[in-house]
C-alpha cells in the first residue's frame, strides 16, 4: 500500500500545483499588503495575519513568470516551513485531493520556465491532468534571494 498524500491544489498560469496539506496554515483572500522596500521585487510585502506579521511572495514573480494583477480568484496561501511562515500569492486555490505518493515522478528539467530544483515531482492525476508538487524549502531558500538581490543591485 503506497503512501497517501493530502495535497492543496492551486493554479498558477496554465499549470496546477500542489503543496502537502500539513505545510499549509491557511488560505486567505487577497488583503492589503504593506510594501517592504529594499527587498526583491517578488516579495510583495507583509500582511497582518491575526496579529502576526507574515511576508508575502508573488509565486509568479518567484518563478520568473510574468506577473499579473490580482483578481477575485487570487488567494494567499500561508505555508510554514522550518519555523518560517510565508504567504504565496497564487491565481486560484482549487481543491484538496488525495494522491498516491507512488504516482509522483521526478520532474523534467524545465517546466514552464520554472527551475527543476523548485519542484518535488509531477503527479499524474487521470489522463490529461498533471499536478506539479513544489519543493517548498527550495522555493523559500534564502541564499538564493541574497544572490538575486546582488544581481538586482
Amino acid at each position: 500500500m503506497a503512501e497517501e498524500l493530502k495535497v492543496i491544489v492551486f493554479g498558477l498560469g496554465d499549470e496546477e500545483y500542489g503543496i502537502e496539506v500539513e505545510k499549509v496554515r491557511t488560505i486567505e483572500r487577497m488583503m492589503p499588503i504593506t510594501r517592504v522596500p529594499k527587498t526583491p521585487s517578488f516579495i510583495k510585502g507583509v500582511i497582518n495575519m491575526r496579529g502576526v506579521v507574515v511576508p508575502v511572495l508573488d509565486l509568479r514573480g518567484r518563478f520568473n513568470l510574468p506577473e499579473t494583477a490580482p483578481t477575485d480568484a487570487s488567494r494567499i496561501i500561508i505555508v510554514a516551513v522550518n519555523e518560517m511562515e510565508v504567504g504565496f500569492i497564487v491565481d486560484a486555490a482549487n481543491d484538496v485531493i488525495d494522491i498516491d505518493a507512488d504516482t509522483i515522478a521526478s520532474p523534467p528539467e524545465v517546466v514552464g520556465g520554472i527551475k527543476a530544483k523548485y519542484l518535488r515531482g509531477i503527479a499524474k492525476l487521470g489522463d490529461d491532468r498533471l499536478l506539479i508538487m513544489l519543493n517548498l524549502s527550495e522555493v523559500l531558500n534564502k541564499n538564493e534571494i541574497i544572490q538575486l538581490e546582488l544581481l538586482e543591485v
Partner: protein, 680 residues
Amino acid sequence: MDMNAYLSMFIDESNDHLQALNDNLLQLESSPGDLSIVQVIFRSAHTLKGMSATMGFEDLASLTHEMENVLDLVRNGKLDMDAFIFDVLFKSLDALEAMVRDITGGGEGKADVSEIVAALKSIVKGDYKSAAAQPPVNTAAGGPAAGAANLDEFQVSVLSQSIESGLPVYYIKVALDKDCALKAARAYMVFNVLEENGEVIKSDPSVQDLEQEKFDRSFTVILISPLEQSALQAKIEAVSEVESAEAIQLDAESLAQLAKPETPAVPQSAAIGTEPQEEASRQPAAAKAQTAAAAPAASRTIRVDIERLDTLMNLFSELLIDRVRLEQLASEIRKPELTETVEHMSRISGDLQNIVLKLRMVPVESVFNRFPRMVRDIAKSLDKKVDLVITGADTELDRTVIDEIGDPLVHLLRNSLDHGLETTEGRIAARKPETGTIYLRAYHSGNSVFIEVEEDGRGINGDKVKAKAIENGILTAEEAAKLTPPEINNLIFAPGFSTADKISDISGRGVGLDVVRSKIASLGGTVYVESALGVGSKFSIQLPLTLSIISAMLIKLGSEKYAFPLSSIVETGLIRKEHILNVHGSRMIQYRNAVIPLVSLSKALDSPDFDESAEEETEIIVVRKGDKWAAILVDEFIGQSDIVLKPLGSYLSDTEAFSGATILGDGQVALIVDPNAMFQ
C-alpha cells in the same frame, strides 16, 4: 505516577526555596540571635527535603535532611550559630543549587556531598570545634544516627529498662511506596500492626503529624517488641504500599547515641519558668504567626509560560483591530445602542490592554536577590568589608529584559567589588569607613528604567585610562587631549580595555565591560559611568520599560506609513527648501551650529508615490547615532503613539533599514524604520 509532569514545578519551587534559604541565612548572619529566622529557614529546608524525596532525588533529600538536623538544634536553642556553621550551611546551599541545576539540565541531581554531610554531622554531634569536619565515626547501628530521634528522659529510661530486662528495642524505619495515595491511612495501618506486636515508644514525625499526612515517604518508630527482627519486618512489609521496613535492634550503646542530642534539654526542662525558657517558647510562636501571614501572599501568584503571554498579546492586538473596525461601523450606522456598546467595549479593552502589558512585567527583585550572597562571597574571598544596599527592588521590567539583565549586573558588581573598592587598609589610609558600600538601585523615570551600581571606592583614574587608551591604540594622543573627563571615563567600555595593573580572577576593570555595553545595547538600553577620583564610581544603565512596546513617531510617506522609534529621535521640525545647502554634491542643513546631512526617506525607501522635491517646506526628523546626526525628510507627521513591536519574520530577517513592524489600529502593518540604517 509520571513525575515529569511535576518536574518543572519542582524546579521552580526548589529555586524559590533555595533563594529563600539564601536570603534568610544572610539575614541570620547579620543577626545570629534571631530564632524566628531560623524557623523560616528550617521550614524551607524541610519543604525542600519533602519535595525532593517525593520526586525521588535522594541526594538532595539526604543533604537537606542533614541541614535540617543542624537547624533543628539551632532553633531549639541547643546550638549557637557561628562562622563555621554558616560556612557549612552556605556550602550546602551551593551543593543544593548545583544539584537543582543538574536536574534542570535533565540530570539526576546526583552529587558527591559526603564532605559537607560529614561537616553537618559533626556540627550536630558538637565535635566540629575540636576536629572540624572530620568524617563522623559510624555508630554501630548506622541508621539510627541519621534519624536523630528526640527521646526524652522518660522514654530513654523505659527503653534502657526493657533492654536490660531482655525485651528487644527496635528502631524501625518504614518507607512507603513512591506513589502511595493515602499515606496517612497506610501509616495508621502500620501503627496497628506495630501496636499489636509491641509498644510504640516514639515516632518521628509524631503520630499527630502522621495522621495529618505531614510527612514524606518515610517515618521512624521506636518500638519495644518481643518479636524477632525479621518477623517484625515481614509483618510491616505485609501492609500494602509499604516499600520497605528496616528494623534495627538497639543495644544500650546505640540507644545512648540516639538519645544524645536531647541530653542538654533535660536540665532545661527542669528549669521551667526561667527567663530564657520563656523566651524560647515565645519565639517559635512568633515565627509561626509570621509564616502564616506570609503563606497566603505566596499562594496568590501563579506561574505562566511566557509563550502563553505572547499568544495573549497577539490575540489582544487582534481584538484592538476589531475594536477600531467596530468603532468605524458604529459611527456609520449611528444607532445609539450600538454606539454605547462599542464605547463601553472600547473602555474595557483599554483596561484590558493595560493588564495584558502589566502581566509581562516582573519586579527586578528576581534578579537582585541573588546579589547579596554573591557580594558576601566575593567580599570574603577578597578580604574586603562591604555593605550592599539595594533599593527599588520592586521596580518592574519586562520579563524578556529581566532574563538578560542579570549577567551585565553581575559583571558590574564584581567590578565594583574588585576594582572600585579599596582594601580595608587602603580605606583606612584614605580616611574612609572601613566597610565599603555598594548601592544597587533601580527606579522608573519616564519610559525607562534605570539601574545603578554605585560604590564609594577609589574612583577611575582618568589619566591612567587615557594613557592606556593611547597605548592600546584606541585613540591618538591628540584625540585624547580633546576628551572631557566623563568621556575619558567611558573609554573603559571600549573593547579589549583594561586599566587593572594585574588582572585578577574576579574581573579586570574594563575587561569585558565592552560585553556589558553590547548586551545592554542589544536590550535597547545604554550604560555610562560617572566617577570622581578617590570618591567612587557610578555605573548607570538605562533600559526601555519593555521590548515589546515602544513609543514611536508615526509618519506618512505618500500612501505609506512608517514608524520611527522615539528613542532615536532628537527633534522634529520643518525645513524650507532655500535652507538646504549643497556640500560636495550632498545635501546638508544647518542644525544648532553644525552642518548635518539631509537624507531623503522617499529616495531611501523608493517611495512609489511621494517625492519631496516639489515641496517648498518639508518635515524633518533629526536622528542621532552616537555623535553623528542626520536629518531625515518625511512627508507628514501622523503623531506619537505606543506601538507593539513585531518581528518581520525569519524570511525577511536580514532586511536592512527596518527593525521590525507594528500593526496599526486599522489592521495595516507599518514598518519600523531603523534610523541607524540612515547613516550608511
